[in-house]
Amino acid sequence: MNKRLGTLLLSAACALSLALSGCGGDAASTPPPVSGTDPAAAQTPQAQPDQTREIAFAASRDQCPGEQDAYYASMSLGVWEPLVTKNEDGTPAPALAERWEHNEDATVWTFHLREGVTFSNGAPFDADIVLANFERMKKGPFDSSFYGLNIDTIYPGLLSCEKTDDFTVVLTLAEGQPLLDYTMVNYGSAMFEPSCFAGDGSFAGFPIGTGPYMVKENVLGQYCVIERNDAYWGTPGIAQTFRFKVIPDTETRYAALRAGEVQGLCDLGAISPAQAAELEGDSAYRVSVGDSGITHFLNVNGGAFPFDDLRMREGLSLLLDRQTIIDRFYNGYGLAAGGFLSYTSAFYAEQPVRYDPEQGAALIRQAVGDQPVELLFLLPNGDVNRYPYQEEAEYIQALLENIEGTNIKVQIRLMDWGPCKDEMKAGNYNMCLKIQGLPSANPFSLFRNFMHTEGSTNLNYGLGYHNDHVDALIEEAAVCLDARRLGEIYAELQAISAEDFPNLPVLYSQEVVASSSAITGYQADVYGLTGYTQVCWAQ
């Protein structure tokens, strides 16, 4: 009797499981039969597989945050295009604007637009469209989960935007902006067909752009679907349809890829370094590593003992074996950072990465002697969930506590970012690991806010950094109209940062994405202009 009951229960559980698994369809795992021809696919060697099948990706956030977002969709989806994009070296490059020039004092910028471009609804792209987009920008600022759209920060002192002919637009600014084209890169100059704007500047329905794909479906918080724009003015995409699912949890995203529910993981933090290392040995998957504008910094309280002493800051920097941190905790995904500015910036000036633990320990001994020193090491919770900060902090803790002849104790404390920032601002901390991205291709705001005595991040992070020469350089940069001189100033600021340590750069992040070998052409390219046009079924 008992044996029969056990068998019955087990059978019922299996039957229920099997029955439920057949309750719904899965477009990705049960593709429709091969049918029809694909004009774009027919021209490419990769096109033999049926490219009308939907390719699914997973990301931690909405790739189409919707009508209230400044851009509706991530740029990488290829729904819209900007006037100005960037080259691999980070310098501005033509997109919908073919070329541009400015007058001597950089107050008047003339943009020559690409001709023959049409929107996905067939409307032509011309100067009137650009004027309408500037009119819309004036109704902002607009909120975005990518980059906020604020005309005052992208086009500071904009006086007018006028057309001189159907394909020429002139921007006039109150003060010279020699690096305006840097701030316009990608999200700074997104162009949409004005009929998709609501009266308040948000979107009234799906966005209409000039890109190779169009939004076909969007369920906020769940997924969005984009479809190839066959009338695209440039090289069209290969795959016909992509679905981008929202899966916030890293482990679940990874499981979805392994289960074949999605063919790729995309966007920031797509996959953890440990998961990527696991997939690298598996021929069923591909891992792609690309550039990232994110730098991991060890921020220190330079306004209080012991980090108010340059020897302590330099000593700790020399003590850090950055390559070991990258290899051990980030599975090799990262680059040792010597300077303040990310290597992806067009203004990056390489700084030596120095590792000399003996000299580092000697400098710290000179700074603190043998007196008892208690250091508070803050870790923001959100970052601990995304990066191996706990392990990294414990490594730094071990380095500091084991310096011979000193008596340093390090206490690690995890906090939410809000209260963590409050503690930093009040100077109630000694060290804090935190990332910093590149808010714009023009790095002026980064230098000003981190390195100027009155810089907002310098104050809010309690860095306590002060250097009269740095202040003078930043004030000169603020009014400088010569792009070459600006480049020199930025290079000098980077050299100073590598010797004076307003904070300690640890590593430059790298974007890691993964895909199933069922698709091809997917590369880590955050916010790149090509987006998904090269991604297609491989089999």
Binding site: S17, G22, P141, D143, Q222, K421
Partner: protein, 317 residues
């Protein structure tokens, strides 16, 4: 008539309870550390705000006004069904919550159903096979379910049933009923464990009562004694327990929704907490609090159906 009076009185009592919930929701948002102003500025392209930027945004968000004025203004609008717009994304909170509430309720009710079916069913089985290997195995299983954290179980279930066996989806809601299985199991596991043990204990206690001896003496079958007498009389405390679980399930759905990528209230409030999006947090506490209070009322009314004593006394018991 007495039942109607009882129900009316309970409904009137909801007013101060809901006011208390609204005050708690409002104050929780305000005393939580962190400042929503920086996040709001960041999202409109001001990554390095000055004190002037902050002051301007604070005024724009209405955070520069005295707390009582902010509270009264919020309650007044909430009474008209307007919970304001989120700091992040500028979305209509009431509409967003109403879109997400059915999803969370669907998952929570599935979890509650699992707790009832497997918890009560398991408890009855344990009591029926008291002292046999079935009882021992099910007791061990219920202890295991009680001890395993929900988030761990969720990841374990995903690995086994989605990643390895490909039987169920890892996440989302696009595969109908199949999409609900893993979240419901993960959410209800601990409750299944405790309900089954509680049911078992209650039924065994009832089986020792004199009326059971009398029922047996009358020659009733074992099944009739167990289900018609012992089980029915042990139902009231079990219903109370299950009713109380609902609050836990609603709260627990926050983590589970995040893991299973379910766009319900839980995942919404989790993101709001991370962004210090006060109006969303307030709206969430208000809606889930009100839902919980209404469910509790429904359970209280259910007592009337199952307990004749309460019915006779018009709910005075």
């Amino acid at each position: 008539m007495a039942i109607l009076t009882y129900t009316g009185r309970r409904l009137l009592m909801l007013i101060p309870v809901l006011l208390g919930i609204s005050l708690a929701a409002f104050l929780l948002g305000r005393i939580a550390p962190g400042d929503p102003v920086d996040e709001a500025l960041f999202r409109i392209g001001v990554e390095f705000p000055t004190e002037e930027d902050r002051a301007e945004m604070r005024a724009q968000l209405g955070l520069d006004r005295p707390l009582p004025a902010q509270y009264l203004d919020w309650v007044g609008r909430a009474l008209r069904g307007d919970l304001g717009r989120s700091y992040v994304g500028n979305r209509d909170i009431a509409r967003e919550l109403m879109t997400r509430l059915p999803i969370t309720l669907e998952v929570s009710l599935a979890a509650l159903a699992a707790a009832v079916v497997f918890g009560v069913g398991g408890g009855v089985l344990m009591a029926a096979f008291h002292g046999t290997w079935v009882d021992t195995v099910l007791k061990a299983l219920s202890t295991l379910l009680l001890s395993v954290p929900g988030f761990w179980l969720a990841l374990f279930l995903i690995t086994v049933f989605a990643e390895q066996l490909h039987l169920l989806p890892t996440s989302g809601l696009d595969r109908g009923l199949a999409s609900l299985v893993l979240p419901a199991v993960a959410l209800s596991a601990a409750n299944v464990g405790s309900t089954s043990r509680f049911t078992r204990g209650n039924i065994l206690a009832q089986l020792g009562e004199q009326y059971i001896v009398a029922a047996n003496a009358k020659g009733l079958s074992q099944k009739a004694v167990m289900l018609g007498h012992a089980f029915r009389n042990s139902l009231v405390p079990i219903i109370t327990l299950i009713g109380n679980y609902f609050g836990g399930i609603l709260g627990g759905s926050t983590i589970i929704e995040n893991i299973f990528a379910i766009p319900g209230l839980g995942s919404y409030v989790l993101s709001a907490i991370q962004n210090r999006d006060y109006p969303v947090i307030q709206g969430y506490v208000l809606v889930t609090g009100a839902t919980f209070v209404l469910i509790t009322l429904a359970i209280d009314l259910l007592y009337l159906a199952v307990n004749p004593k309460i019915r006779i006394q018009g709910g005075e018991s």
